[in-house]
């Protein structure tokens, strides 16, 4: 591995730290701008009304209403870095704890969907790109067009209608009240509840990966080296294995890691429809319920996940591509 690459990764890391700090500032500023009154949100309208002026001032001081925003941000960020993300208003628990529970629920869902849609999307994209203009390509392209035009939440509704309401195969997530904790639920139960959300996310995740892989595959099939390989009598499976696969894998892996953000976005919608107690649903609940500490924490955690994915992609690129690994004159 050459030095330039290490410097590249180091720069990447620094950029991530900077970006995260900026995101936290922007998020904080957005929350400050919101017309939600921290006293009301935290104590409640009724309780506030019955308080004396003195008590109110005490609380205002406690919530830092009168301190300048910069100072507020610094004290919030300082606590955040030390692991104290504040208290969730909705769940009446430390945000750290809420996020830990919700994230562990979401992770399984995200991981299944991510892997399934990655593999399926890659395979479809390759088939489509290698058979450009033929029936298989047209079918796959059509499928991708329909899927990318379908909002994830509606697909979720559709699957819910078919499998839960009509066929009674899977549970209607709606019957689970919002905010039920995952404790006391067996693993089989959790998988049972995760099938439909995971299926929805996998189906919607496929199209993006498939279309990009298809584009790359077409570029590769039109490249000089594939032309030469064909002139050397290579075709079909061998052509794919020795010439297509290696070259298309690289961009596909990068894309796959960059697509974490989209899968996460989809999970927000899908979890809402299926009432799946994950991070996405918590984000919606926090937004609707004005639970600002939780919303801010979720934003930063999800940004870290997205950046982590991008960083992994960059590192993998260096590991897979010999032009970087062996330090060639790659430009």
């Amino acid at each position: 591995m050459n030095r330039r690459w290490y410097i590249f990764i180091l720069k990447n890391l620094i950029r991530i730290v900077l970006l995260t700090v900026c995101i936290s500032i922007v998020t904080f500023a957005l929350m400050k701008a919101s017309p939600i009154d921290p006293l009301q949100a935290n104590v409640g309208q009724a309780a506030l009304g019955s308080m004396s002026q003195e008590q109110k001032e005490k609380l205002e001081e406690y919530w830092g209403v009168n301190t300048p925003p910069v100072q507020q941000y610094l004290s919030w960020a300082g606590d955040f870095v030390r692991g104290d993300m504040g208290t969730s208003l909705l769940y009446r628990q430390p945000v750290t704890k809420v996020i830990a529970v919700k994230l562990s629920n979401s992770l399984m869902l995200l991981a299944i969907a991510w892997i399934l849609s990655g593999i399926l999307g890659f395979a479809l994209g390759v088939i489509s790109g290698m058979n450009r203009g033929r029936l298989a390509d047209k079918l796959i392209k059509g499928y991708c067009l329909i899927i990318s035009s379908t909002p994830a939440f509606w697909l979720a509704l559709l699957l819910l209608m078919i499998f839960s309401v009509w066929l009674h195969i899977f549970p209607i997530g709606l019957s689970v009240p919002i905010g039920v904790e995952a404790s006391g639920v067996t693993l089989a139960d959790r998988i049972y509840h995760a099938v439909l959300p995971a299926l929805t996310l996998s189906i919607t995740g496929v199209s993006n990966i498939a279309l990009h892989t298809r584009e790359k595959m077409i570029d590769i099939m039109e490249s000089d080296y594939v032309l030469f390989a064909r002139m050397r009598g290579e075709k079909g499976w061998r052509l794919f294995r020795y010439y297509g696969f290696r070259n298309v894998l690289l961009p596909a892996v990068t894309l796959q890691f960059a697509s974490i953000s989209e899968i996460f976005g989809g999970s927000v919608l899908v979890e809402q429809v299926f009432s799946y107690p994950g991070l996405g649903q918590a984000a919606v609940a926090a937004g609707l319920g004005s639970d600002l500490p939780l919303l801010m924490a979720i934003t930063i955690v999800s940004a870290l996940i997205v950046f982590g994915g991008n960083l992994t992609a960059n590192i993998l690129y260096g590991l897979i591509d010999p032009r970087i690994r062996r330090g060639g004159a790659e430009k």
Binding site: G133, D224, Y225, L227, F228, A229, R230, M231, R232, G233, E234, K235, R238, R241, Y242, Y243, R246, N247, L250, D321, P322, R323, R326, G328, A329, E330
Partner: protein, 311 residues
């Protein structure tokens, strides 16, 4: 002489390649990039198709190998070892009996090591040994097998590319512009590699823009102009201007540095506005009204020419 006795390895008769294109709006037009191409290659012989850039000569190789882009269609007749070379037959022998040597290492898979790439992924001892022999012959170190194309030095490129042909048992080798931008010494060395292949018994068809270089190594020269083969002559015919047949060939001869470096006025016509009949007519001093009619490719003094006034 020897040509009459034997059958050619490759015989291309009246080949044409046409592209379909949109020009403006929804109109589709046809671009005849190659109009009339006739070439014969015999075993043990090296034939050079010489044409300036833009004459459509690279498509010749793609046409023979059956890898034209999808908006191109090919006409004419290709015969390989007495039998017509259909698409199906080509698929069977492509890369085995008929091999093509590309211009540069850009035609190699950037993510595959040189050794496996030349062997096309074959791992058996026989092909390994064969590759080692080829490397020894071309004075390439064994470690080169483990390099990726981007790690090759400029000097190795030519030998690596020709190794891809040597690893097979080719009866016909097609080389597309094998000396792009090389200095004279290196270019000559590269051409000599192809000469060796011909001497080993294969038919070699070299497509090049470099007439002088072709004259040094080839047996016969086919002159290609604006999508048409206008003359076929032996290398000896190029010793004097008088033994050449077509006005364009003669002009090429006069343009060579050792014969006075004379400039040929005018430019090669673009495929879209080709004149009818002889493509060289607009630049030719002997041109008459007859030249815009169909011009036959006829035999003149053991060579061939597409000019009604040649004798």
């Amino acid at each position: 002489m020897r040509q009459e006795e034997r059958e050619p390895v490759l015989k291309i008769e009246n080949m044409s390649i046409v592209f379909t294109q949109y020009d403006r709006g929804m109109h589709q037009t046809e671009l005849p990039v190659i109009r009339n191409l006739d070439v014969e290659v015999y075993a043990g012989e090296m034939v050079a198709v010489v044409g300036s850039s833009g004459s459509g000569k690279s498509l010749l190789a793609h046409g023979v190998m059956g890898v034209l882009p999808y908006n191109a269609s090919m006409g004419g007749r290709i015969t390989y070892c007495r039998e017509e070379l259909t698409g199906k037959r080509m698929e069977k022998i492509r890369g085995k009996e008929i091999v093509m040597v590309p211009q540069s290492t850009a035609f190699l898979n950037p993510l595959m090591k040189i050794g496996p790439q030349i062997r096309k992924g074959r791992k058996d001892e026989e092909s390994r040994k064969k590759l080692r022999d080829i490397f020894r012959r071309y004075e390439l170190k064994e470690e080169v097998e483990k390099l990726y194309p981007f790690e090759l030095s400029g000097g190795m490129n030519r030998r690596i590319l020709i190794s891809t042909a040597m690893i097979e048992k080719p009866k016909l080798v097609i080389a597309d512009e094998p000396t792009p931008g090389l200095d004279l010494k290196v270019a000559k060395r590269a051409m000599e590699h192809f000469r060796e292949l011909a001497d080993m018994g294969a038919g070699v068809l070299v497509i090049t823009h470099d007439l002088e270089l072709a004259l040094e190594v080839a047996d016969r020269i086919v002159v290609f102009y604006a999508g048409t083969t206008i003359e076929e002559a032996s290398v000896q015919d190029f010793e004097k201007e008088e033994t050449l047949r077509h006005p364009y060939t003669k002009a090429l001869w006069r343009a060579m540095p050792k014969h006075g470096f004379q400039y040929i006025p005018g430019t090669q016509p673009y495929v879209k506005n080709l004149p009818k009949g002889c493509p060289f007519a607009p630049r030719c001093s002997q041109c008459t009204g007859e030249c815009s009619k169909e011009i036959p490719y006829r035999t003149v003094r053991e060579g061939k020419v597409r000019c009604i006034y040649a004798e």
